[in-house]
Symmetry: none
Subunit: 211 residues, 4 copies
Amino acid sequence: MTPPKPPMQLNAKKPHRRLPQQRRAHQTVDAVLDAVVRVLKREGVKAVTTNRLAEVAGVSIGSVYQYFPDKQAIFVALHQRHIDQIDRMVQTKLVEHAASSLDELMQAMIDGMIDAHSADPELYELLATEVPHRADGTRDFAVRLHGAFRLALSARAHELKDGRNIDELVFVVTNMVESLSHAALFRRPTRLSLAAAKAEVVRAVLAYLNS
Amino acid sequence: MTPPKPPMQLNAKKPHRRLPQQRRAHQTVDAVLDAVVRVLKREGVKAVTTNRLAEVAGVSIGSVYQYFPDKQAIFVALHQRHIDQIDRMVQTKLVEHAASSLDELMQAMIDGMIDAHSADPELYELLATEVPHRADGTRDFAVRLHGAFRLALSARAHELKDGRNIDELVFVVTNMVESLSHAALFRRPTRLSLAAAKAEVVRAVLAYLNS
Amino acid sequence: MTPPKPPMQLNAKKPHRRLPQQRRAHQTVDAVLDAVVRVLKREGVKAVTTNRLAEVAGVSIGSVYQYFPDKQAIFVALHQRHIDQIDRMVQTKLVEHAASSLDELMQAMIDGMIDAHSADPELYELLATEVPHRADGTRDFAVRLHGAFRLALSARAHELKDGRNIDELVFVVTNMVESLSHAALFRRPTRLSLAAAKAEVVRAVLAYLNS
Amino acid sequence: MTPPKPPMQLNAKKPHRRLPQQRRAHQTVDAVLDAVVRVLKREGVKAVTTNRLAEVAGVSIGSVYQYFPDKQAIFVALHQRHIDQIDRMVQTKLVEHAASSLDELMQAMIDGMIDAHSADPELYELLATEVPHRADGTRDFAVRLHGAFRLALSARAHELKDGRNIDELVFVVTNMVESLSHAALFRRPTRLSLAAAKAEVVRAVLAYLNS
DNA sequence: CATGAATGAGTGTTCATTCAT
DNA sequence: AATGAATGAACACTCATTCAT
């Protein structure tokens, strides 16, 4: 039922750089990725230099370039790591709520979306605003997310009013869920609780679906 | 009736840099801002160096620093220019539709939002994704936009169901209008016309407001 | 009578790097070129880094790159400077000995060749053996030198035995003069004086011409 | 009759590196040397990195350093391999033409010189122009070549005009043969056939010897 | 005010070499 | 001996910024 999800990969622009195949290699990749996060949060984007990354990751700069063809690839991998996590969550919810109503599924999706970003809001805010995101994997992600919602809505067409256009629905719902979840977490006014904001997001999505 | 709108300003981190007060000064500032746009679109963010900017603007690098304390200020000013334009549009709509129903006003706002970005979609997409936006003026803008919507909704409280919380409404509506307008323009699937997408955005906002 | 000699130029691979046009600019270019020579002789090719060059030249590394598109261009310019000098010498000899016999001209050419390198034999030995010479200007030089000798020999065809092929003559004589002059200066056995070596080179060239 | 020829050796700057003594060792050394040639011709000097060499040679980088103390030693060995070949050729000609006249011997020497480089002209051009040649083994070679010609000329002193200085003769002839052979192969103008150029080189050498 | 040559700290990246396995 | 992941010194080069003219 869930579409096959491609496993996370470093992008393979420069094919002579070998992919991590061994235990130690994976450790290095993760160490570097964690280092980006740490430096990003503690010192800001401008401090994210490849040499600083190596230092914080506790590996040599040469090792960094053993696994990443260039600096951009590090950011791409970081984005990918996040995207994969969201993707996994979405697939899980889809399966878990295969038998649920549209309302329940949407609620679960929004919950999942907010939860996924709650783990480290600061990081995800930084990723979204400060770290350059080329169209690379981000596009793929949008497509995948879109696909998931299309699947969910198609399977529940009977719950929708007659004559609703599935393309329009998918487009609006996907964007609402994504952007309002972000907003609830990152841009909600201080006097609004997260729970209240979340409830309101759910209300908005359902109101649209049932309109 | 309209909240006082602060005039556009270069941010004044370094106070010894004087504001443009003369004809020629304004010309330089605009020339530089236009140069950013041109270089951004033709050569990408990486090509946006202060020296290239000066060259394309047809002024000396020294002159650039006469009006901008540093490179970041150029980006801020560019964002500001866009923000001011949106701001102006919002105020105008608010005045024009002072007597309109909530539905009509929302429709007008979404129209205005999309129109404002339609002028140069490529640019605004670049501004949003490639040009670093510090919390600087962006925060101010969010606050102003928020304020405008709060005003509009407060004045039409009678059209809303009883017991709706104004903070929640403002939060959701503001974010929906902004992000869905962007999405309609930049991330709409190819088989969806702009008109159809726009209509659906309106539908979503109104469905929420009337829920 | 002498073919028009193109003035020395930095090679213009990367056209956005402006050519030196002013007094100060020329000083910088020369300072850098002199620095290469100094570092080359005192510390070896491996010590010739762009930063060391800037340091020794007494200019900033930025200034170096204001006038040279990359490191290779510095070497090319250095070779060019030498080549131009030889070229100038050759043209001069050609003019000065316009009325001389072939024997006298050849003697003068060999003299000139050796003198030109005598000024700083160590440098020219380094240039020839240690400094990478791409086909760039070196090819042009070979052609120009070839042309000069062709001119000289053609004009004295009557001094040559009937049936000698001018192409063959030019080829052999040009290469003999160049390589034997170098050899006389750089590879002559210690018990051979420069004067004796030079005399022998002349003898060899004339023997061939008169054969 | 032939002077004792030192056997080919890797230069022994770092004495703890053992000489190749076994079958497999020789294979590695040769594989590396062949790899240099291949990379040099296909990808240029800049691509000749020790790691690339190991890769192309099909051995590990560690093995490369088992047999070569450093990168320079690889180049030295490559030059040496060429030099030894020339050396062998020279000795052979000397023996073969022990009873020949000076003219015949010179002709044979020039033939041999050109033939030796004809096998792979591209390679020898690259070796001469792109691959750094320290004074290391090159000096030895010059001395050996010199020695061979001295031997040949001394033994045929009776064929020479009285009063010719053997040092001068050896110096000029050695350099003529070497540089003109190279020129005939690498720098001959296109409209000159190799045969014609070779004939002319012979003519030049003999003209000098008989002058 | 305008100019643009000069600056130089700092960046991404390479690659010869080592050494634990 | 062989391996190849790891190392890190060193390099070429950029570009925001300054300041003498």
